[in-house]
């Protein structure tokens, strides 16, 4: 169908792209090409390096190594402006539109003539919109548009600029199913005219419905490229969640075998969640998006976490995970349903009450949970200042002693009086872990605990979670890293569009079964 490679150099060729952030390798020697008129799907889990790779191509990120060719000519993508000149257009995941400006102004932003004739600008944008089949009213303000319309503006913005390679970063994440159909039709029509398209997604069925070829990234490496007719979904899921060149130890971290009789425990707990003493429970919880007129971001979600159990919450982010964590932490009100920590009803309680009831939290955004200007010692006691007081003053001696104990126990590489802001991500996370566990909590809510951490810190944190379970804590673990869930959780719950799409014992769960629920329901 496509002209053979020999005639045409590919529209874009990436060679050996490598990008490191500290110790984390976001892209490791990735080489990839896209032909003219081709739709390439870039598949992978969150954090696999898809967005980084495309940001490199669009000049938003400077790679540590590697080169880029456009139509056979080497190009240095030093800035988005350079990328646009080279004919690359990108629609970022979070839209880059200026809200108070009109559609026409946004579309021509960065390429506007020195003097602006609004009438002429609007009519030229209207014409361009009709030419590519993306009807939008150029006189309207972005703030007044819905997400689907905003996305059309974004695509139009990329296309008017003589774009030959269009990058779409998770374009369907914000769209309704009808809008997705329309988007796909548009993309197909555009490629018929020779446009090359790279589409980032982690939804298998979309890639299959749209793309000619697929490239799979796993932990920064390209683990396979294939024509879509040559692979089946199972192989793709296996590549996505397992990778061929996986370097993280993925063997299950089994609890120490001091109680061999309890070995089939995960399965039993699934059958009788209320049998064991419950550590955390949400029952029929409904949360409505503020100002949405009752759109439910959590819809009758019921999860019970027993003591000595880790329940993993899997699913594509944005399907209610954040809200679930916030509900448990007292950060978000529920419309109906109940929340319990241990035996205490904490439905719509304040964060302080939830902590007092015995909840430990490890937040998704670790920078939001610390005070970087304060010392390690002070951050460690921030949630329990009352216990470290002598009269009206802080008991600095006790605080320092406590910090020394924690530093030793959790192998934190710092002194008690080191400013927390100077620590590495891994050590920062250990401080938060120490703070959470030192209160001897009944239940733990842990969100994305190892995101962005190196292998060593990752392994350590997972081991600590398992150890906390052994001491009898119930843990709700929210993670986008399926390997992580499979290696530490006893039971998995899959969230999709605010509802529980599936639930299975970890013993029965494999990357394929969970991946299928995730890909199918999302």
């Amino acid at each position: 169908m496509r002209p053979p490679e020999a005639d045409h150099p590919p529209a874009v060729r990436l060679s050996g792209i490598t990008k490191r952030y500290g110790g984390l390798v976001a892209n490791d020697q990735v080489s990839l090409h896209v032909e003219r008129g081709e739709i390439l799907g870039l598949l992978g889990e969150n954090g696999a390096g898809k967005s980084t790779l495309m940001r490199v191509l669009y000049g938003l990120t400077t790679p540590d190594a590697g080169s880029i060719e456009v139509d056979g000519h080497p190009v240095r993508m030093s800035s988005p402006a350079a990328a646009r000149r080279a004919g690359i257009g990108m629609v970022t995941q979070h839209f880059s539109l200026v809200g108070p400006m009109t559609v026409a102004e946004n579309v021509t932003l960065g390429a506007t003539p020195r003097w602006i004739d609004r009438r002429a600008l609007e009519s030229s944008v209207r014409q361009a919109a009709e030419r590519v089949g993306l009807p939008v009213d150029p006189t309207r303000r972005i703030d007044d548009l819905g997400v689907g319309e905003r996305q059309r503006v974004e695509i139009l913005k990329a296309l008017v600029n003589d774009c030959r390679v269009l990058i779409l970063d998770e374009p369907t994440a914000v769209l309704t199913p009808v809008e997705v159909v329309g988007l796909f039709a548009t993309i197909r029509r555009l490629t018929e005219a020779g446009l090359a398209v790279v589409i980032i997604s982690h939804k298998l069925h979309e890639i299959r419905a749209l793309c000619d070829r697929v490239a799979v990234l796993h932990r920064g490496r390209l683990v396979g490229t294939s024509s879509l007719s040559d692979v089946d979904d199972d192989e793709l899921v296996a590549l996505m969640v397992g990778g061929h060149h996986s370097t993280v130890p993925t063997e299950r971290t089994e609890p120490p075998t001091e109680q061999p009789a309890a070995e089939p425990a995960p399965g039993k707990r699934l059958a009788h969640p209320e049998r064991s003493d419950t550590a955390l429970a949400v029952a029929a919880v409904v949360v409505e998006a503020p100002g949405s007129g009752g759109r439910r971001v959590l819809d009758r979600v019921t999860i019970a976490v027993g003591r000595g159990e880790i329940v993993g919450v899997a699913g594509v982010s944005g399907n209610g995970q954040t809200e679930l964590v916030e509900v448990l932490c007292g950060m978000r009100r529920v419309a109906s349903g109940s929340v319990h920590v241990g035996a205490t009803n904490v439905t719509n309680a304040s964060p302080a009450q939830v902590i007092a009831a015995g909840l430990g939290r490890l937040a998704e955004d670790r920078h939001g949970a610390i005070v970087p200007e304060l010392s390690v010692a002070h951050n460690l006691v921030l949630e329990r200042l009352g216990q470290f007081r002598r009269g009206w003053r802080l008991d600095e001696t006790a605080i320092t002693r406590h910090a020394e104990r924690m530093i030793e126990q959790f192998a934190i590489r710092a002194e008690p009086h080191t400013r927390l802001g100077t620590l590495s991500g891994g050590n920062m996370q250990k401080v938060l872990l120490a703070r959470m566990l030192s209160g001897d909590p009944v239940g733990l809510v842990v969100a994305q605990p190892t995101r962005g951490l190196d292998l060593h810190a990752t392994a350590y944190i997972r081991a600590q979670l398992v150890a906390a379970r052994q001491r009898g804590a119930g843990i709700l673990l929210v993670s986008e890293d399926l390997d992580e869930l499979l290696s530490v959780a006893d039971r998995l719950v899959v969230l999709s569009e605010g509802r529980i799409a599936g639930e299975l014992a970890a013993a029965q769960a494999t990357a394929e079964t969970v991946g299928a629920i995730m890909a199918g329901a999302a």
Binding site: P80, F95, I116
Partner: protein
């Protein structure tokens, strides 16, 4: 009748530095930078404009020097808040305090020395291009401000790609960056331009209105401009009209003070009147004001 004409003429005169300062601040803030250096920049424009006129003996030299000093102040602020990403509050207030200190110091060294006599220059006289008298009896810079500079700023913001880029970097610098706009450069240029207008505003006070330099000569007019920008919702003309309103109340209270019927009213109260009106106007119009999206935020690509 002559009373009203007199007040109207004084209004335009007093409104000129406010119009210039507020236009300059509009450009800065639309780019996302709160320029708290405005008071000091006006002060430096007033002093160095005066100094140039005083040393050269020609008042004409004062105008370009005042503008140049304002541009330099804008550049200094841009180095702090755009290049280094320092807090805009700290940098702006520091710039104001620093510039006022430098001006007073140089004034002491070069101009006033130890003599108690006030150094004076011959200021620009008034100009009446049409020979109609009354309201048309004005300084040439007042004409230039209201008929040339403010319209130019309005056109610049509304009808040029530079104005669009300024709005974009002030509202959503990520979007501007993705669109290939150099965020730092646009912000820096906005600060240079705004600074130039503020310097000119200061120079107007010494070179036109007063003819000498005294300590505290700007007297908070820079701060008034900050309020005018919010009052005008970050649009040049409404901000300038707010300045004219403020000037009108000021001009009115000057006249009221010498009217016999008002002798019973404490003159301090009348002095405070323009500021009271400003506060009232802000309280009414400033509610629900939509600040630029990237107000006070330094931009770093990650």
């Amino acid at each position: 009748m002559s009373f009203a004409l007199d007040v109207a003429a004084a209004t335009l005169r007093l409104g000129t530095p406010l119009a210039l300062g507020a236009s300059g601040e509009v450009i800065c803030e639309r780019a996302g930078v709160l320029n708290l250096g405005i008071e000091g920049t006006m002060y430096a424009g007033a002093f160095f404009g005066f100094l140039a006129a005083y040393e050269t003996g020609s008042v004409w030299w004062g105008v370009p020097v005042g503008v140049a000093v304002g541009v330099a102040a804008g550049w200094l602020l841009s180095w702090f808040v755009v290049t280094l990403g320092v807090s805009q509050h700290t940098a702006g207030l520091g710039l104001t305090l620093g510039l006022i200190g430098v001006c007073d110091f140089v004034n002491r060294l070069v101009v006033s020395k130890n003599s108690s006599a006030l150094a004076k220059i011959r200021p620009f006289g008034q100009w009446d291009p049409f020979g109609w008298g009354g309201v048309f009896q004005q300084y040439w810079l007042t004409y230039v401000t209201f008929l040339v500079l403010v319209p130019m700023v309005a056109v610049l913001m509304r009808r040029t790609s530079f104005g669009l880029a300024v709005t974009a970097v002030g509202e959503n610098p990520e979007a501007a960056d993705v669109a290939g706009i150099d965020v730092a450069r646009v912000r820096r240029r906005a600060l240079l331009l705004g600074g130039g207008l503020m310097g000119l505003a200061g120079a107007f006070i010494t070179l036109f209105q007063v003819g000498s330099f005294t300590l505290d000569i700007v007297n908070g007019r820079g701060w008034v401009c900050l309020a005018l920008v919010i009052f005008g919702r970050w649009r040049p003309w409404p901000a300038v009209l707010g300045g004219v309103l403020f000037a009108a109340v000021t001009a009115l209270q000057f006249r009221l003070r010498i009217l016999s019927g008002w002798s019973g009213v404490p003159f301090e109260l009348l002095l405070a009147l323009p500021f009271l009106v400003t506060i009232l106007a802000l309280a009414v119009s400033g509610r629900g004001a939509r600040y630029p999206g990237a107000y006070l935020k330094p931009y770093r690509r990650h």
